[in-house]
Amino acid sequence: MAAATAPARNPNPRGPSRGTGTSKLDSFAGNVGKSFLYIAATAGGMGVLLGQIIARLFPPRIDKTELWRNLYKMSVKSLPIVAVTALFTGAIMVIQAAPIVKRYGAEGLLGWGAGFGTLREIAPLLTALMISGRVGANNTAELGTMVVTEQVDALRTLAIDPISFLILPRFIGITLTLFMMTLYADILALFGAAFTGEALLTVSPQSFYNGLVGGLLGFGDVANGLCKSFVFGLVIALSSCHFGLSTTGGAPGVGRSVTATVVASAAGVFIIDYLVSFILG
């Protein structure tokens, strides 16, 4: 019963092609080629979409009400989940640093140690993962549903440009949302870290704060994290809009696009993180 539903669903080029009569090597090479073509098509599609978006940014032609509506829906509604994530993240950073702090008796460095990891790496990364799961996936589902119910075609028929009416507000919305949420998560994560430090290691919040601002950690570190979050926002916005617009195959296609978005955003965020870290480092 369960098995009957799954197979027809997925015309994924990377699926196993057993029993087609080809040899093992042939099918392997075929799969590699297919996934290469799929990745190339995706990257190319995103590039074209980025070009179209940039073309509409100079001079800006944005639907203001749509932008505000999206910003509210994306940012304000994500606040609780980002808050919980950030508080726990800060706490986890301190717990992980705790054995090292105890081993060397470096209580004064706890604020610096936890702050460095949180501000530069973990807060932007985890916030990006959360926002890509919540906002990016939702955006794809919405756009995909509009595509498969032909609402986007209807917009075109009315001579309304779908890129500037639908895509541009969402693109700006996601990028701004991630940037603001990272700032917010930075602050909350440090709060969480300070309280855990007091509860677990009896390091007072005062000495945590001193370690944080004691010269080893500068504005550059905060800026580094925020710079990353801006790039992550671009990646998430681009992939969610691309997969939403290229949805095919009715209702199941929407689910498939959402999965593709989440996977592509996560992979993109990690790879871009590496590149940006090296460039800024």
């Binding site: 669903r9 993962l129 989440v262 992979a267």
Partner: protein
């Protein structure tokens, strides 16, 4: 609903209008909203708990569908290897590079970099980050599949055949998740360790002999890490399966279910990580 406002007519029309709307004044509304949210949370928590308990029950008592487990293991495990290896490889490089930068500001001595890195990797970063990556693929896949079965009424058909959807749909994914998450975490951590070693070699001229130093890893670290592997492996399929089963509202609902699956399982992983790490630190 309109009766009270007719009995107590007020001079202020806006107040009368609000009262007539039935729902309440500006003071009551936020409190009502809070209460509704709390009730929703409670209801969702109870339902999630019930899915978990029933999954455990059917693991021991259920009827097995032949081949379902192997198929799910292939879906969850083999198809994720490439994705997890790539992302964790990059994560390993970033982590070593960043901790090198951090170390350079205090003591320019990199000899303990590898030892600290493997300790952190075993205890926390390997299981947590790898399963956060896995959720995006596995959790979304599970929720989308079960969700589309719900909206096309295939799950109702299962119930009509006197087959519990938990037994047929969630249990194979649960068992496959338990086994394959642990396997993937071990593999992904290995990848991250080796890419980290390469980064240390090229960025900080740290030899492999110095980097491959496991003297800091003790029993507590291994136990904490293994516990995390098992707990996350159980949490991802249960949370995503619950999100898939509670899908409503047609094709748009499937998109929503997928979103909720990814967000809720990531949140579950972070919260569980906090508790397991805390317990591990206090015990060992």
């Amino acid at each position: 609903m309109t009766a009270p406002s007719q009995e107590h007519p007020t001079s202020d029309p806006s107040h009368a209008e609000l009262a007539a709307a039935g729902e309440s004044s500006a003071l009551v509304r936020p409190i009502a909203g809070l209460g509704a949210t709390a009730l929703d949370f409670l209801r969702a928590g109870l339902e999630l708990y019930s899915v978990f308990v029933r999954t455990l029950y059917y693991v021991f008592r259920g009827r097995r569908e032949r081949g379902a487990l192997v198929k799910q293991m292939y879906e969850i495990g083999n198809r994720s290897v490439f994705f997890v290896s790539i992302t964790m490889g990059f994560i390993g490089m970033i982590l070593v590079y960043q901790s090198g930068l951090q170390l350079r500001r205090v003591i320019p001595d990199f000899t303990m970099l590898g030892a600290t890195y493997i300790e952190l990797l075993v205890r926390d970063l390997g299981p947590s980050i790898a399963s956060l990556i896995l959720t995006t693929r596995v959790g979304a896949g599970i929720a989308a599949e079960i969700g589309s079965m719900v909206v096309t009424e295939q799950v109702d058909a299962l119930r009509m055949c006197a087959a519990d959807p938990i037994d047929f749909l969630v249990v194979p994914r649960f068992l496959a998740g338990l086994v394959m998450t642990a396997a993937l975490i071990v593999w992904a951590s290995t990848v991250a360790y080796f890419t980290g070693a390469l980064t240390a070699y090229f960025a900080y001229d740290l030899s492999f002999q110095t980097f491959f130093n496991t003297s800091l890893v003790d029993t507590g670290d291994v136990v904490t890490g293994v516990t995390k592997c098992i707990v996350y492996g159980a949490a991802i399929p249960v949370v995503s399966g619950y999100c898939g089963l509670s899908t409503f509202g047609g094709s748009e609902g499937v998109g929503w279910a997928t979103t909720r699956a990814v967000v809720n399982s990531s949140l579950a992983i972070i919260v569980l990580d906090f508790f397991i790490s805390g317990a591990g630190f206090l015990i060992f």
